[in-house]
Each structure stands twice: as C-alpha cells, then as structure tokens.
C-alpha cells in the first residue's frame, strides 16, 4: 500500500503554545485512519496543516507523494473536507449548497449534476433538496455538511468530528456512510474524541495528546500494548480493609480502587470474573451489579498519559 499522507517532524506553535510537537504520522491508501485525542490535543491543527490552511513552523508534509503547499491544487482536487462546524450557505438550499461546493472541484456541469445527485442519495438528503439549511434538523445539517465535502468524489477525505451533537440515528447513518466511502475507494482521516466511534470504524489510529502522537496502530495493537487485560467493576458492595487486601493479593490483579461502594479491579489478563464471584460468595459479601470490560482505548490513553481521555 502507498502512503497517502506522510507527516514528518511537524511542529506548529500558536504564540508560546506548542500545538504540534514533532509529530510523525503516515496514512496508507484505503485506510480509515483515526486521530483520537481529547479536545485541544491537536487533531484539527494536523488537518489544517495538511490542507495548507495553516502555516507550520517546521516539518514536512506529503500528500499523494508530493509536498503539500497552498498551491498544490492538483492534490487539493482529490481531497474532501468535512469540517467540525457546519460550513454551508444559509441563503442556498440543500441542492445549491452541494452544487456550489462541488463546483469548486468539478467544472463539467453534467458530471457535477451526477456528483450532487450521488451525494444527496448517499447522505439521505434527496427529499430535502429544496430545503434551506435552517429548515433541517441538527442531524440532517451534519449530513449536508458531509455531502458538501464529499460530492466531488475525493480520494482522500478529512472528517473532523463529523458526529458532534448528532442524534444516534444520524450518527449511525454517518458512520455507515464513512464505511461505504471507504469501500468505494476513499482514504479517510477521521478525528474524534469518541473512542467508541474510532474503535468501531477505524482500521488504524493514532492517539494524540498535547500535539504529540503517543501511540499508533490498530485498536487491538494499541490495547495489547498496555497492562490491562480486563476490568471488573462491582457496584453496591461494602468491603472492609481485610477483604480489600485479599482481593489485591489475587492472581493477575494489578490495580484495585474502592470508592462509594464501587469496586474496580484491573487484571493483567482476561477470564477473572468467575474467581472474583467465588471469592465474594465464600466470604458472603453482598453486592449489586457486576460487569467485566475488555480494555478500551480510554485504558490505553489512561495508562500512557495517566489521565482519562474524556477529561
């Protein structure tokens, strides 16, 4: 596979704030590449630098094998962008908006007409073509935002948190659409701070924090990098210090927290729930809800940075 985006040693400062700190990233053709990180971690800045919408202080960016500059119009012709905030004209209706943004890339009228119809169909907006943006719900507006970014059939699509403030139905529609775009041959760079989404659709991802790439790989690769194999949570449980000591001493346990009648145990491997339940039954300790979780990307982030991704 060829690399579609290659970022090397990228540094971007906003005054005294280091937004991107010697960042290295590579996105391969055909991937859905996730950029995961908390707000302010540098996800949008990476996109703006790649698109040459921002000047950067140091580093090299190559897109489709060529250095990316503001005048790289041939590369730009094959790039689509879905910005975090909805970027459409209030004065134009759905069809006119898609047609206008598509016309920045596709000059042939017939071809553009096909592209717009395809984008309307793809985003499920065919029935709303005559509506003005302010007549659309939040979810439909997001879909229009996506349609405007992808109508010209780009080979590389940047999607900057496209599901923020979207209802579950529209979110599923958007995520399904992204998969479909990828199947149709587009490489996608998807940023989000929703780790479930990233885990659900991305073939590979990078976790950003303070402008640095702290880990990259597939979700499974990242999870395998950390110590946590399973997290068991027991709610509505009353424990004394002796019981806590005994739980800490159990096999595979490397972290135990107990607060507000909730016990959280982290194990180095999976399949530990049954042992814990036996122990509680033997000691006749009453408890409420019990559940086991496999490691998440949040655990990866937590172990690497010492803080929660959701913070």
């Amino acid at each position: 596979m060829d690399s579609v985006i290659s970022i090397h040693n990228l540094v971007k400062r906003y005054g005294g704030v280091l937004a991107l700190d010697h960042l290295d990233l590579t996105v391969q053709e055909g991937e859905i590449f996730g950029l995961l990180g908390p707000n302010g971690s540098g996800k949008t800045t990476v996109i703006n630098c790649v698109l040459s919408l921002l000047k950067y202080d140091r580093g090299e960016i190559e897109v489709f094998g060529s250095p990316m500059k503001p005048s790289s119009y041939e590369s730009k012709r094959n790039i689509g962008v879905v910005f975090q905030n909805v970027a459409v004209f209030e004065q134009m209706n759905v069809y006119e908006n898609i047609d206008y943004f598509c016309s920045l890339y596709v000059t042939d009228r017939k071809m553009r007409q096909d592209c717009v119809e395809e984008a309307l169909e793809f985003t499920g907006l065919s029935d709303c073509r005559k509506k003005k943006p302010k007549q659309l719900s939040g979810g439909l507006l997001r879909r229009l935002n996506i349609a405007c970014g992808i109508a010209h059939r780009p080979k590389l699509i940047f999607m900057d948190e496209p599901t923020v403030a979207v209802d579950p139905q529209s979110r599923n529609h958007i995520l399904e659409g992204i998969r479909q775009l990828n199947k149709n041959g587009s490489t996608i760079v998807y940023t989000s701070h929703y780790m479930e989404e990233v885990e659900q659709i991305c073939t590979r991802l990078a976790i950003l924090d303070h402008g640095r790439c702290i880990a990259s790989g597939t979700a499974d690769e990242l999870k395998s990098m950390i110590r946590t194999g399973e997290t068991v949570t027991v709610e509505g449980i009353a424990l004394d210090e002796t019981a806590l000591q005994e739980i800490r001493a159990m096999e595979n346990v490397f972290s135990v927290t107990y607060a507000e009648e909730t016990l959280t145990i982290k194990y180095g491997s999976s399949g530990n729930l049954i042992l814990l339940l036996h122990y509680l039954e033997d000691r006749k300790i009453a408890f409420g809800r019990v559940f086991s979780e496999k490691p998440t990307l949040n655990d990866v982030f937590l172990e690497i940075t010492g803080k929660d991704l959701r913070d």
């Binding site: 703006n48 698109l51 040459s52 919408l53 921002l54 000047k55 503001p70 005048s71 119009y73 041939e74 730009k76 012709r77 790039i79 962008v81 910005f83 905030n85 909805v86 970027a87 459409v88 004209f89 209030e90 004065q91 134009m92 006119e96 206008y100 943004f101 016309s103 920045l104 890339y105 000059t107 405007c148 970014g149």
Partner: protein
C-alpha cells in the same frame, strides 16, 4: 467560474435587500439635492427695500439723504398720513417709513444732532430696518462733520451722496467661469453622488460577501483547488454586473431632480467618466470592507463612518472654501476630493479648455489609481489570510 456563480447566487438570493439599500440611499441623495436650493445661488444681488419717506424739510440735505437711500432702495415720497402709512407698513407694501422733520438741514448745520427729530418706523426685528437706520445715521454723521468743517450745505450734501454711492465690494467664496449665470441644476446631484455610491457599495458588497467570510466556509473554499486571487477576481466579476446596473440606475436620477438637460449636455460624457471612476473607488472600498467585516452592525458603522467622513472632508456636504486650509490639504489625499474637483470643473465650465481637460484627466487618473491600490491591498491581505484559518 465556480466562485463567480456562488456570488451571483448570493446576490440573487438577497436581491430584495440589495434593492432596498439602493432605494434608501438614492432617496436620501435625491432629497438632499432637492432640498438645498441655497447652494444654487452663486451670484450676489443686493436686496432693495420699499421706503416711504415723509420729507417736511425739503432741503438740499434732506433730498441728499433720500437720494442716498434711493441708490439701493425704492423710495417713495408721501405726505404725512399716519393712518395710510401704518396700513402700508402693516400690509407689507412698505418696509420702512422715514420722517424728516422741518429744519433737519439747519439743525445738522448747527451741529445740534441730538435735537434732530428724524424718526423711522420699521417692522420690529427687521434686519433690513436696522440696516436702513444705520445708513441714515451714517449719512447724518458725515454731513454734520462736513458742515462743521466749513462745507456749504449743498457741497456737504453732494459729498455725502457721492460717498454713499460707493458700493461695498462683494467677493463670492467661489468664482465660476459661469459667474453670471447659474450652474446646471443636475450638477448638484453629481456633487452628492459620493455619499450614494460609497454607502450603497459598502452596504451591498459587504452584505453579499459576509457569508463568504464565515470562518468554516472560508476554510472550505480555501481547501479547494481555486487560487485566492482567482477567487477574488471572480468575486469582482460577479459584482461588476451589479455595479453596472446600479450605475445605470443612478444615471436616471437627473430625471428625478429637474436635471433632464444633463442628457443633452456636452459635458455628459465627462460626468459619466467621473461617476465610473467614483464607482470604482467606492466598489474597491466596499470590497476591502466586505472581505474583512463579519457582522451587519460593523458594516453599518463602517459605511456611515467612511461615507459621511469622506463626504464631509472632501466638500460634498460643506464647500471646501469654508474649511480650514489644513483640512483642504488633507482632502487632497482622499479620492472623493478628486471626484468633487472634476465635477466642480465640469459644473463651472461651458466649454473645456486644455487646463480643464488636464484637471479632469488628473481627477480620473487619481481615482482609478486609488481604486487599483485598494483592490491590490485587499488581494494581498486575502492571500495572507489564506493560510491563517
């Protein structure tokens, strides 16, 4: 021409608002032109008062006083008839009634001015009445002084009469080639055009460009394979149609301001060139503002500051002759000053000589240079902004 199409679309969608802006400012401009007739008076003519004189002295001096007043006024002699004189004064047929008592000449010769019983009646608070009082008093003072110096009554009367015949020199603040006739009425409309053009251009260009200045839309367009300079040029091309329609509309305004003779004037071509140059400057200013202003409130504030500011500084509302030399010098650096200079040259000439044509060409060149400089500055700023999303 995708950006061009986008602008046309936004113009089309906002056509109602744009027409209302044009209508409002056009109406203001026409109203100003029609309601300031004072600026049409370019020559000085002294006003003549109707004086009713009752001369009971019938001396050389009293006759000299009446002759002196008659030089600039309509003097009618009348017998003493208080009722008739009051009626004339009340009805407005007479502005001033002068009583010259018997022995007026003798009393002046004796130097007994305090005892003189010359009386005048005038409309209370009348400026002309005060003026005639002062003419009479001056005459008496002069004759009294001449008689005291040894002149005879006849000589003093003659000298005083000659002295009064001397006219004060009146210099007009501005002299026209058309000094003895009024300049064409339509020329006043063209004087006020900078206010109309600047206001309309700033409002409509900013209104249309505002959606394009929205941060996310700007980013989306900047990410597209269209160079920023080409985007700006396409925007200008889209606006060009709007400008030409607006220009054509403004050229119909002489019909609304009693200035239909404009269309047959030999100067019409020069006026058209001047308005085109002014339109270019106004559009360039509107283009600069439209690219960088984000809210309607800011547009309104800037439109008022710039249009009114330039119009006041460059002699649109207040003639430059009434302004300080410092302001006039500063006005030389503003494009509207050069438009006004061009229009004044056209308005005050019946035929253009070499000097006038050179001044007109200079005025056009300077305005176009301003327009070009502002557009270049905007394009440069846009190119810089292209990478600062």
């Amino acid at each position: 021409m995708s950006v061009y199409r986008g602008y046309l679309k936004i113009i089309q969608k906002n056509i109602g608002v744009l027409i209302s802006y044009v209508a409002i400012f056009t109406l203001i401009c026409v109203m100003i032109t029609n309601t300031i007739p004072g600026r049409q008076i370019r020559t000085f003519e002294p006003d003549r008062q109707n004086i009713m004189a009752v001369d009971e002295d019938q001396s050389a001096v009293s006759q000299a006083l009446l002759d002196c007043l008659a030089a600039d006024n309509n003097v009618t002699q009348s017998p003493m008839d208080k009722e008739r004189l009051s009626r004339l004064l009340y009805s407005g047929n007479t502005d001033y009634v002068l009583f010259i008592p018997e022995g007026f000449g003798e009393k002046l010769a004796e130097g007994d001015a305090d005892q003189l019983k010359i009386r005048s009646v005038r409309e209370p608070g009348s400026g002309a009445g005060y003026y005639l009082d002062s003419v009479t008093e001056n005459f008496m003072t002069l004759v009294s002084a001449l008689l005291a110096s040894g002149y005879s009554e006849e000589e003093a009367a003659a000298l005083a009469k000659n002295s009064a015949a001397e006219k004060a020199e009146v210099t007009m603040m501005q002299t026209d080639t058309l000094s003895q006739s009024e300049r064409p009425y339509y020329s006043w409309l063209f004087v006020y055009f900078p206010y109309l053009y600047l206001s309309v251009m700033i409002y409509i260009i900013s209104y249309v460009m505002m959606p394009f200045s929205h941060r996310e839309i700007r980013s989306r367009i900047a990410a597209a394979p269209v160079p920023p300079v080409r985007q700006a040029l396409q925007a200008i091309a889209a606006f060009l149609q709007l400008f030409l329609i607006f220009w054509a509309v403004t050229l119909l305004l002489p019909l609304m301001t009693k200035g239909a003779d404009f269309y047959t004037s030999s100067m019409a071509g020069w006026y058209l060139l001047e308005t085109l140059a002014l339109l270019s400057v106004s559009a360039a200013i509107g283009f600069l503002i439209g690219n960088f202003v984000r809210s309607e409130e800011s547009v309104a504030a800037l439109a008022n500051i710039i249009s009114l500011g330039l119009c006041f500084l460059c002699g649109v509302f207040v003639p430059l002759e009434l302004m300080g030399s410092g302001i006039v010098r500063a006005a030389h650096f503003l494009p509207v000053y050069w438009y006004e200079t061009g229009v004044e040259t056209l308005a005050s000439s019946t035929k253009l000589d070499g000097g006038s044509i050179s001044l007109l060409l200079q005025s056009l060149a300077i305005q176009l240079a301003y327009a070009l400089a502002i557009v270049m500055m905007t394009l440069f700023a846009l190119k810089k902004r292209h990478q600062t999303v």
